[in-house]
Amino acid sequence: MLWPIDLIVLTFVIFCAIAAITVRDLLGTAILFSAYSFLMCLLWAVMGAVDVAFTEASVGAGVSTVFLVAAVFRTSRRSKD
């Protein structure tokens, strides 16, 4: 594998993780978490774990986000920190 791709994607993953837990809007958290999952899936695909990447793309970036958005819809969108 090419190390620049690895390093760039890892940096993006860390930025997405920090943004997902600091943003004050929970809907924003849901979308950033989805982006985080998708970048993670990219990282695993680069490492050759295609099955794991496929699962993460469908489960983490797809269904988890839908659950999170559904829960935000039924609870509140604001977060104090």
Binding site: F54, G62, R74
Partner: protein, 274 residues
């Protein structure tokens, strides 16, 4: 709390980074994890099971017992969501729209009900006009997503994929229907009873294949013993057994994903949602 948390993670992180000094170099082919056990699997799986995708072979055959209980865990998660949230009382506020005039009626008494027909239709509380573009695109897209999901399940032995991924994709196609139309459209087509039966059937198929292997004289989940049942292709019996197991997993996962989504989004009432 914030400062304490920061100190704790700095300490833990420092200790873990100190611990990485003992790990083998990243991607080292001679590391202990990739030299002893995994070589046996890589070299012998195709000969023993006729399945080229090593991950599926290990998941559904060598570690079949583990995967069976994992399917049971997913089933239990669906059950837990049902028991936590399901609410059989009718909602207090109901909204109906008179279709020819567009007048909205608001019913506050939970006992009065109106049968939606040609004149009236049941509306969500936070109703927004449905977008024709979204509806049309989703209506065209959903069958293709479902066929792709079936392909992923059926082709899991030869390419990336398998029961979990296919089940999740199929479930998300149903969730897409609920989002693009409304929740009642989905619950009319895929009822709660249907979903519950499917979730249980998936686990039952998995366990049933294991028990069938026992009846045929082998050990639990020993697919090789099923060969007399498929006389036309006994050479690929392990691959076929894995396919059966994956179908069971796919059905269970599909039903459970829809159950969890529907219960969360409607707070267990199954009447209105996103």
């Amino acid at each position: 709390m914030k400062l304490l948390g920061f100190v704790v993670i700095c300490l833990t992180g420092g200790l873990l980074i100190y611990g990485t000094m003992d790990l083998p170099n990243w991607g080292d082919p001679a590391s202990p994890a990739s030299t002893h056990l995994s070589d046996y699997y890589i070299e012998n799986i195709v000969e023993e099971t006729q399945v080229p995708n090593l991950v599926t072979a290990v998941l559904a055959d060598y570690r079949g017992y583990d995967t069976m209980f994992e399917t049971a865990v997913v089933f239990c998660a669906g059950l837990a969501c049902f028991l936590l949230l399901r609410d059989f009382r009718p909602g207090k506020n109901r909204y109906y729209r008179h279709i020819p005039t567009g007048v909205m009626l608001h019913f506050k008494n939970p006992d009065t009900r109106m049968i939606p027909g040609n004149e009236f239709e049941h509306m969500d509380k936070d109703w927004v006009p449905s977008d024709i573009i979204i509806k049309t695109v989703c209506r065209i897209l959903i069958p293709f997503i479902q066929i792709y999901a079936l392909y992923v399940v059926a082709h899991g032995d030869f390419s990336p994929g398998g029961g979990f991924q296919g089940g999740v994709i199929f479930g998300s196609s149903l969730i897409l229907m609920a989002i693009s139309y409304n929740l009642r459209t989905l619950m009319k087509r895929v009822t709660e009873k249907f979903l519950s039966i499917f979730a249980a059937t998936g686990v039952l198929i998995y366990v049933g294949l294991g028990v069938l292997a026992m009846i045929m004289g082998g050990q639990f989940l020993d697919y090789g013993m099923l060969a007399p049942l498929v006389p036309w292709d006994p050479g690929h019996i392990r691959a076929l057994g894995m396919l059966g197991v994956e179908i069971g997993v796919g059905i269970a996962v599909m039903a459970v994903m829809v159950i969890i989504y529907v219960n969360i989004v409607s707070e267990g009432r199954h009447d209105e949602g996103l």
